[in-house]
Every structure is written in C-alpha cells, then in structure tokens.
Subunit: 792 residues, 2 copies
Amino acid sequence: MTSTAPNPGPLSAEELDLFNKWWHAANYLSIGQIYLLRNALLREPLKLEHIKKRLLGHWGTTPGLNFIWLHLNRIIRAQGQDILFVAGPGHGAPGLIASTWMEGTYTEYFPDVTQDEEGMTRLFRQFSFPGGIPSHAAATTPGSIHEGGELGYSLSHAYGAVFDHPDLVVACVVGDGEAETGPLATSWHSNKFLDPKTDGAVLPILHLNGYKIANPTVLARIPKHELRDFLKGCGYEPIFVEGHDPAPMHQAMAKAMDEAFARITAIQTAARSGKDAPQRPTWPMIVLRSPKGWTCPKTVDGLRTEGFWRAHQVPVDHMEKPGHLAILEEWMKSYKPEELFDENGSLKDEIAALTPPPSKRMSASPYANGGALLRPLRLPDFRAHAVAITAPGKTVTESTRVLGEWLKDIMAANLDKRNFRVLAPDENNSNRLNAVLDVTNRAWNAETEPYDDHLAKDGHVMEILSEHTCQGWLEGYLLTGRHGFLSCYEAFIHIIDSMVNQHAKWLKTSRETSWRRPIASLNYLLTSHVWRQDHNGFSHQDPGFLNHMVNKKAETVRIYLPPDANTLLCVADHCLRSRDRINVIVAGKQPELQWLSMDDALTHCQQGIGMWEWASNDKGSEPDVVIASAGDVPTLEALAAVSLLNEYLPDVKIRFVNVVDLMTLQTPEQHPHGLPDETFDALFTSDKPVIFAFHGYPALVHQLIYKRKNAANFHVHGFREEGTTTTPFDMTVRNHLDRFHLVANVIRRVPRLASQAAYTHQAVRDKLAEHERYVCEHGEDMPEIRNWTWPQ
Amino acid sequence: MTSTAPNPGPLSAEELDLFNKWWHAANYLSIGQIYLLRNALLREPLKLEHIKKRLLGHWGTTPGLNFIWLHLNRIIRAQGQDILFVAGPGHGAPGLIASTWMEGTYTEYFPDVTQDEEGMTRLFRQFSFPGGIPSHAAATTPGSIHEGGELGYSLSHAYGAVFDHPDLVVACVVGDGEAETGPLATSWHSNKFLDPKTDGAVLPILHLNGYKIANPTVLARIPKHELRDFLKGCGYEPIFVEGHDPAPMHQAMAKAMDEAFARITAIQTAARSGKDAPQRPTWPMIVLRSPKGWTCPKTVDGLRTEGFWRAHQVPVDHMEKPGHLAILEEWMKSYKPEELFDENGSLKDEIAALTPPPSKRMSASPYANGGALLRPLRLPDFRAHAVAITAPGKTVTESTRVLGEWLKDIMAANLDKRNFRVLAPDENNSNRLNAVLDVTNRAWNAETEPYDDHLAKDGHVMEILSEHTCQGWLEGYLLTGRHGFLSCYEAFIHIIDSMVNQHAKWLKTSRETSWRRPIASLNYLLTSHVWRQDHNGFSHQDPGFLNHMVNKKAETVRIYLPPDANTLLCVADHCLRSRDRINVIVAGKQPELQWLSMDDALTHCQQGIGMWEWASNDKGSEPDVVIASAGDVPTLEALAAVSLLNEYLPDVKIRFVNVVDLMTLQTPEQHPHGLPDETFDALFTSDKPVIFAFHGYPALVHQLIYKRKNAANFHVHGFREEGTTTTPFDMTVRNHLDRFHLVANVIRRVPRLASQAAYTHQAVRDKLAEHERYVCEHGEDMPEIRNWTWPQ
C-alpha cells in the first residue's frame, strides 16, 4: 500500500491533505520549540543566531504523538466523545504543546503566547529554556494529568482517570521504552478492575518506534505473533497500524480509530443496557509502529538518524558544524510552513478547522484540571465511632478497625456520587478496614467462583497486589477530581517512593500555575508497621518512608502518628478534608491500649503536639526530664516507662509530651505546622533531658529539631534496623525502645539520679534477661508486659 | 484422569508411592513448623500445650512448593543437573526448610537440628519463634539466594543467577500473587537478554493457587487461552499441570519436568554446538495450577478452607475452640507420619533415597553461597587513567567518561572469567560509560537489524529500561558469586528503594550467619545527578537516595561524593574491592573542572575528608570560617565562593574542607568510617561558622553531625526541592547553593564581617539579578560563570 494507490478510505483525498497539513504544522511547531529562538517562520535564511544555545528536547517520539492526537481529534469531531490524552513517552511535550497551541487552548491559558508569529516565537523560546517550560508534559501543560520524565505510570493513571467517569475515554500512549518498566508491565491488567457500565474506557496506544535512548526496545524486537499474543494475553484486541508512508498511515490510523471507538461504544452500550455478556469484554487497543523521529532527516553526517536511536533527542545538533544549519532548514521547510501558517503566523483556517469544538478539545479537557471538578466528600461525623475511654490506658482496641467503620460510613454516604475509592495492595482486610465491604465490594471484572466474597464489577475497594498500580490508579483518580484512601504495609510503601516523588513535584508545580485548582490530598494509612511486624520478620520492618517524605516541600507533606483510635479518627478526618497534600498516617492494626477520650483527642490533634497532664507529675514546674513519644507503640512504651519511674522514683518530675503531627517539631520557617520556638521550648524546656520514644529511625527526630535550643539534650529511641521474627515487645527491646531501656536512659540523663545509674543499669539488665528467657521458652511476651495497663 | 486410571507414567506405581510419601513428609514437617512446640510425631494425643501460643506461618503455598521440589529432585537424580531453587511465594519457608531437613542439609548447617525426633522438635519450635527463623526464605535458609517477604524479584534474581553460569538451571517458582507486581511482570522478558550458549537457563514455574491474602489472583482468573497467550507473548512455551488429585498430578508433573528439561537441554546443546537458529529460542515453563493449601482441611467451622484464601496462612487457628485441635490432629495424621518417619523420628530410608547426591542437593547448592565461589576481580591499575592536573581547577573533563575507560580495562581483564557485568537502565552511554562497549557488547537476544550497534547474545553490558530488572539481575549475579557495577540517573534510583532495603537486610542477616561468605558489594554510580539535570527538569532532580541509604546498617552502607575524575577513580577502585557493602557513588557526567592530582586524590580518598590547603588561607591558625563541600557541583560553587572572598575580603581566614566519604561526618560509634571527635573538631573547629555546600538535602548533613560539638554552627546549602528546566548555574541559584549565596552567608555568619553584611547582601542581589537577566535572554549561563576557573 503506497500513497499513490487508490484511496482506500476512510479519509477523502481532501481530508488526507488537510490531515497531513495539521500533522506537518504540529511537527514544524515541535521542531521550532526544540531549536529556534527567532525566525520562527523561516522567513529569512536560517542563521546560527536564530538557534538556541543549548538544544534540549526530544524529537523521537513527537511526530507519532502528533499523529495520534490528530486522529483522536477526528473521532472527537465525529462523535463528540470526551477524550483525555495521556502521553506516556517521557519527553513528548513539544508535540502536546504544539497541538494545544494550534487548538487555541495554549493562548487561553497563557495569553501572551498568542496565535501569531510573535506568540509562536514565544512558544518556541520558552521550551526547555530558563524560566520556561520543561521538555516533558507537566503540571504546566494544559490538558495533562501526567508528568512525563519518569516512565511507567501512564496506563495506571489512565485507568485511575476513567474509574467512575463513564463518559470519558482516556487515550493512553504507551511508549515502547516505558513498556519495559515494571509498573507499566503490570498495569495492562487494570482492565480486570474496570466496569464498562459505570467506568469509562481506556484506549491504550502502544507506540513502537523501536528505540529507547540508545537501545532497541524489547516489544519492537519480538515477532509480531508474540506481540499479538502478549497483548491478547493482557486482555486486549490489538489493531496494528504499521508503516512510514504518511498517506496510507493516515488511512490505516483513521480506520483503526473507527474500529477501536466502535468497539468501545459497543461494549459500553451492551453493558449499560444490561445486555453484556457476564464475562469481561476484550477491549480494543492500537499498536502504532512508526519510525523513531518520523520525517526527520534520514541521515546526518552519514549516520542513520530517522528510524534509529539517534533521533531520540535532537536529530541534528552541533549547529556550528558545516552543513548542519542547512539540514535543519531543509528539514523544517520540508513541512512547507508557508502552506500551514498565514501571513500573521496563525494556523490557516482550513487546517484549524480540524480542531474539535472548544468544550471537547483534549487540550482543554475539564478532566485534566480535576480540582475544578472536585466536590467535597460527605464526611459523616467520625465522633459517632469514638472509643469510649473511662480512663487512659485501660481499654484495648484495634485502632484501624475503628477507622474502618468510619470509612464504611463515608463510603455509604458518597456511593451515589461515585467519587471515593479505598485502595490497598491485597491488604484491605489485613489492615482491618473490612467494614467498608459491608457497603461496597472489591472491584473485580475477571472470572468469579460461586464462593467468592465481595467481588463486583462496580466495587469501590481496589485491590491488586501491586503497590505501583494502586498508587497510579489513585493518582489518576485524584487528578481527575475525586477522593481516595490508600492503606499499605508500612515497609512496602517504599515500593512507590519514586512515584510519590513525582506526585509531590506535580503538586508543587500545580500550586505555581494560576489555573490548576487544588485536588484532594493523597492519603496514606501505613499500618502493619515496623513494631507490629514481629510475626513477618525483618523483611517487613522499615519505617523509612517518613524520612523519604520529609524531603518534599513543606507545603505538601504532613505526617501523623496518632497513638490510638480516637486520635486516628481525628487525623483521618482532617486528611480527607485537606487539598493538595500528601498525608501520611502511621497507625497500628493490632489490639492496643487507648489513651484519649474523643474530646481530648480533638484538642490534642488540633495542636498536633501536647503535654499529657495525666501522665506528667511536674505540676506546672520545670521537670527533671521530658519523656516524649510519637507513634502508638512508642507511646505505650514511654508511658510504661513513666509508670515504672513513678513507682520506683516517685520524686522524679516527669513531663510527658506526645507528638501526633510530626512536623510540629520543625520551626515555623521550615514547615507551616512548625511550633514557634517559645512554644517548643515551653514544652521541651531549654535545658532538660528529653527522652524521646519515636516510631521511626531516631536520626529523623534529630534532623527535624536541629534548629531548636534544646536539640543537644534530645535522646531518641527508635528503630535501629534490628528486626526479626519475634514477639512485639521483643522488637522494642532489640531496638532499645522498650520501657526498661527508656527508664535506664532517664536515670542516666537526669544529673541528680547519677548515683542510681549503676543500680538501675543492673536492674534493667536483669529484667531484660528475664524477658529473653521467657519469650524463648513461651514464644510470647511475659504476662506483665502483655497485660500491662496504665496504673493510675 | 483419576488416580485409579491405568498408570500413565512416567512414574511407576512404586515411585508414585514413594513420591507421595516424600510429599507427605514435607507437608507434615511444614505443618509441624507452623503449629507444634512438642509432640512432633503425634505419639501422644494432641493437646493445647503442644501448640505454639502464636500461630505464625503460611501454609497456602507450601504444599505446592514441596511438590515442585520433589519433582526437581527427580530430574537432578536422573540427569545430575545443577539446579538452584528460587521460591517467589513470599512465605514458603516451611516447605523449603522441611525439604532441606529431609535432605540432611539443614543438620549440616545447624548441627543441633538433628535428623531425629529431638531435631524435628527443634526444627518445629524455631520456626517463626523468638530467636528462631522467619516464616519466609531468608539468608538463614540454606540453598536460598532469595528473601521472601517483599514480592516481585524472584525471576530477575533467577536470571541474574544464571548469567555466565552455563551449567546452572534456576527453577523459579513465581506465585500468582507475586505475578501481579510490576517488577515481576516485566522480568518475564529477561529471556531476551540470555545467551543459551554462555548462560544457564531459568525454568519459571508459575504457581497458580488462585488466591492472595484475601483476594483471587488475576492470572488464575483469566481464561486459559489468555494465560497461554500471555506467556507465549512473553516468549515461553507453557506446560500446564493442573488438578488436585495427587496421583495424576505427580504423573503430570513428572512428565512436564521431563519435557521442560529435555527442551532446555536441546536448546543448550544446539547453541553450544553452534547449530542453533539465529533467533531466540522459546524456553519452556511450567504452569502448576493446584489448590491453595492443597491437602489441608476442606472446611473449618463450615467455612471453605482448602482451595480458598482462608488457607493462605494458618488454615485452622484459635486452637482453644472446640474441635480445632481434632481438626489439626486429623489433618496431620492424614499424612500417616508412622509411614514416613522411623522410631527415632528420622525419615525412612526408602523415602530419603529420593534425595539427590550430596553435591547436587538444591538445599546445598554452592551457587546459593556465592561468597564461597567468589574470586576477586582483576583490577588493572586505575592510575593509568589519571587526569593530569597541572594546577587545581584548570582542566575540564567528563569524570564518568574517565571512569568508563577504566571500566573498559576491567571488563577486558576479566572477560575470560565472565564474572563482571555493567548494568544500566538504558543509560550506559548517556552516563558516559560507553568505552566499555569497545571490549564487549550489550546483551541482546531479540531481533536485530543490520544497523544495530553493539548488540550480542553474550554481551556483558545489560540494559533494559527497568531499574527493577537491572537491580534484580545484579543482585542475583552478586549473590551467586560475581561482580557488577550499576549506573543510574540519580533521581530514578528511588525506583528500587525498596529492593535495596531488602538487599541491605539480606547482607545484615548474612553477616550474622556463620556460613555465608562475603559477596561482592552492590556498587551504584549515580550520575545525571540533581545539579546537572537542568535540561530534563524537575522530574529528574532528586538527591534523596542518600537519605534513604543512611538508614541502613552502618556496616553495610558507604556513600562517596568524589568531586572530580581522579577521586572518582580512587573511590570506584575501593568499592570494587569491597565485600558485603552497598556503595553509592554520586558523580557528574558533564564536563567539569578537575581539582586533585592522582597522588592528592589517593591521599584525600584514603582519609575520606580533608582540608584543601591550596584553597585555604588560614595557614594553620584558627580560621574565621570553614567552607566545606561534598559533591562535584557544590565543590565548584564553594571554591568559586572562596575565590570571591579571597578577592574582595582577602583578610578573611578561610579553611576549605572537602568531604568524599560522607559517613566520616558521623561519629565512630555511629559508623565505622566516622571521624573521631578530636579530628572532626580539628577540621571544623568547635565554634566557628561552617558554611557547607552539600550535594543533597541540607537536613541530611544536620542529621549526620548532630552529635558534634560544633553542630549548631553548621549552615548547610543544598537542594531545596526547587527544580526546573534551566541552566546548570541557575539550578544552584534557585537552591541557594551558588557561590553568591555562599559568600553572603559567610559574611552573615562571621561576626567581624557584620558591618559588611548589608553591602554584600545588595551586591549579591545585584549579581543574581544580572544572572537572571542573562539566562532569560541567552538561555545559557554568563560567560564569567561558564568559563570560571580557579584563579590561583
């Protein structure tokens, strides 16, 4: 099939001509962004001074993206379909931005980038330029919910966006480089969690251009039958569009798009009329195989360029080299700019006519500015789930189970709006959030068995054993204007360290744009935490996600360590109301002592940190020592230490401080939640020893408080990377977080107790030896530990 | 096909009986580990006091693992094949340990766990018990290179183990839960990087038992034709073994194993005799579909158990409940222990006869104790690549390119031993390590084109666009006794945060075993780092991996920030000689000024930290200020600040300190490389301001030095999470790491310069405004910045 063959349709000869022109214009504008500072329309002979000093950008994937965008526009014009474009290829921004400018959207968002020669010059100049925009799609890109750069998350973002958006199709371009990443490789299976009735559809477009930075790609170098098997095995029916000759490629792509959208419509119509088969539908997808850097020079300096990795970034660079300017000029002129743009530098009307109606432009999709769509969650009063506290430290409850009951209420209250999902990597029940399954199910659209429980196509609990996919779905869901809650074993949240980095960057950049509205926060509940993974052992013990998060912008990050169920409820309520944050809540799922009544919890959480008078005996005077805690198990051990001291050394004046909001430890200059120095010093004194029982790695507290006057007197007990399979209390002993080590350190640090240090040291050693004997004999903790309650 | 059908082979009736007995014994021993404290052989009626107080362990996957192990042993006995067993299912340890004990290996490693009733009791007791062993395979498990617990890495570990081990087959069991993870999903494609001639083979065994913790699994709930397509699409020929009736299942598995190993032998024979087809072979794999918790009670308390998620952990628990003890007793007795073990509690001879010869036992595989196989790398003298330095700060070089030249020498020197691989996620050339391709190729066994460069089946540079797969391959390669070097963009190394956690835990636990020998260190080169990703923008800018690493055990972690090429060479040499470490080297790939001659570099790197006299003017007296740096770009800016101060305020006494080995900042109690307090105070003074230009997040330095006397006087400049697409120098300006901000801070902190602070403040503001105007106009840094060299 060549371009001179009889027109095979579906495009008429006129359409074909116009399509090529749109594509040429988008390509021209893409190249202009990479290269040009001025002379945007090449009205004068190209000179070195017109060229950017540093040539930064990626041409390789761009013509393919432009091609796809153009053909999606045809569907939108014909069918009025709402389509959101997700560009997986990391650095495809020149293309997205070119099309967005051609559609007029860019000028609406950035009025100085006008649709004329001056605006075109601005468009070119700002790209990958100081003070300008990055070379990949970002929060600054209209129509985008997906940061390029780090690869792997396009398809999970796409699925997240269409859940509960039945009218939306996300066209998700997956690069063959990205397809090699783990997160992308598993996200193909998201189709097993999609309900064609109540969710929208994803149209994956696998773009095989054959090369990464410097290597061929795997999926482009396996036999076609293998690729087809692979995609069918992932549950898709691939439609192949392959070649390089533009005319037949346009026809093939138009035909593929027609087929794909007809199939999507058929699936949705069947499902929504109740006439669908019980089994999961096979969704269409497109495989576009086109040359890397399509339409750029075939060779540069005699070296293969088009269709090779050399076209990945800047196909011709070192512009001072003889002939290079001419190559660029000839390349750009091959698109015949004079046929594309009028005298003013505006896109010619007949080409611009390919733009969809304003409200349907992908570049202006309301779905891409989720904050503007966002409606607050209906939050039933969490106080209805308050754990009744007659006295501190007497009642035992699984705190996350209490939270689960409230999440169930939230789910029920918002189910008609379909704007709230609870996610977990196969851990929802393990994390004690199973109550939510009383009012909804787990999303599941694969085979079922009669004895299955709580699986349904339209379930709002999402569970796949992939932290990456859960995170990607949730990001896509939030970025398109909904709410969510993700629970995860604490140690394994590190699996998405890098994804949360990118989301944090997105939030920062979003705040810096004028037009992105705040979205619902990304809420994590980390449970099965380091201190209560005694049964699973060392591999499951890691509290380091907190360290990871504090590096992010203070405006973005919140860390909460509620010590019991009522504080957990307060904190969770706050998080679900917040916007544009990443909230990390760490709370235990095992039965644990409860400390605060709901009234006390509310006050405590509002302040984020505070003295617990009932656990203090300093009576407003300066204490001998401050015992502080952050986290549920550390709070238990710290209070047990207080009770031991009260019993054996009743004249030691102890102040007990609990930290719920970790960022209060920083100064107000460092973090918006930071305590003023006066308040901090009033709590922690300016010269008394502070024995701090901390949930995570001790150095994190030192990192947070280094600016405080009393910093040198903080002695932090926390996780020392001594993990194993053992008993809960033994975990604290191995890491010196237990009550006995805390008591010993108090005595060591309070000068007037110096004389008792040796005696205490021995007493503690004896006690710990007794403990060790007991657990090795019985496999559980001593009764005095297991049954301990707050004595007062 | 049922067990009463005529014997279809390949097992005789006698073999079948013995196979069942071995399997029963392994299952019995697995259950005993989960449940029993005593009465191991159920010689007396089972009572509550025989049962562990806390029932911890995972039965669900175990009978399948036992079944597979048994059938692999048959192949080993018949063919003498070297097989290493990798158990992907997270918590399958009871099975592995049962088989290992039955083979006598466990007793060889742990002599008190004898092969009799007493030893069996010890074996049971220690499992998931304080002071005992974890519930998943770990460094304490003989025959294992793979930590269970965190899922996703079994198959990349397996491939890593067989690269350059042509005689080895790794039988890699992939659980259907693990198969949902991203890292596993992409690692199927490792077969495109395997050379059947010079590498061994991996036999993946996908174990579909249908359930995760509380959900069905995706791959068990898609139609069989889809699963087959999927696996064929991944390049495998699946052999299905499906059912639950043991007799036909044994026959089917024996047949499948025969087929699979025959196919492996055929592929390898063809490749090694030069008669293989040019195209990649289709490797066999096995799909074992068997019930979760196979052979456990069908129901407990009327609830479905076998073949359901309830069998995931402990099928019957709450042993105090009426009838539960009887259920357990009946279940264990269903294996007829009296037919399996003799009076002493030893495995009966005829069953033990199924054990392979001692040297071939999987439980004793030498490949699983890689340190014992490890031979040192031949390391050519790196000084041959010294960059000639006539004076500091005059020469410009791409430091990693220099390193690449030396890596080429190393590759060449060790190529005949085939024990060194260089890995990168499609970034080897981008990271300037391309010289190594002069002596080897990129491993590639997929389709090729005539114009491809440096692709070969037996290449020793490994590039797939998956950080997870690179990391997994390298871990597998190191754990089986070889050496490697992984380069990665700094920001994206976070993708494997969680993998490196697990490797660090493995190394710690290995050190605590008596029999694991040290393995080669895991060496990272992080380049394209935060300060020189100005062209790629914010998504590529993150120095937080250092924060992540310092949480690990001090015995394991080393962090190096060589400021130039010669120090980079010194540091890399040290890392490649080290054992059992995780070494992180951060170094730039862009042209940068060089500071130290090779002699000076050697001295400096040996100390890890030191004063640079040529950049200091305190002449042995107490300085006014210490200016310190760690990292190449911070060193450049810090030295430029020194030169500005020297010029404008020549009487300010400056001491310049450079840190190569970041952990010297900690105390010797915190880290083996920590500087003694006296040395630290001698360098940094005990009361003078220290202006510290740091590569990463400033708080990390504060975290490392909080115990030091002068800690409160450290003022650290580093990455403030202000990233974008801009110029290199502008990146430092936005984060206040640039020379001008450093100068301003010196003047602010040195008391006797207080009078100049206002003036300097204004001068700095003017200079920065000039900078901003220039870069916005020209898109590159001012010539005085670009062309700056050290003036002396």
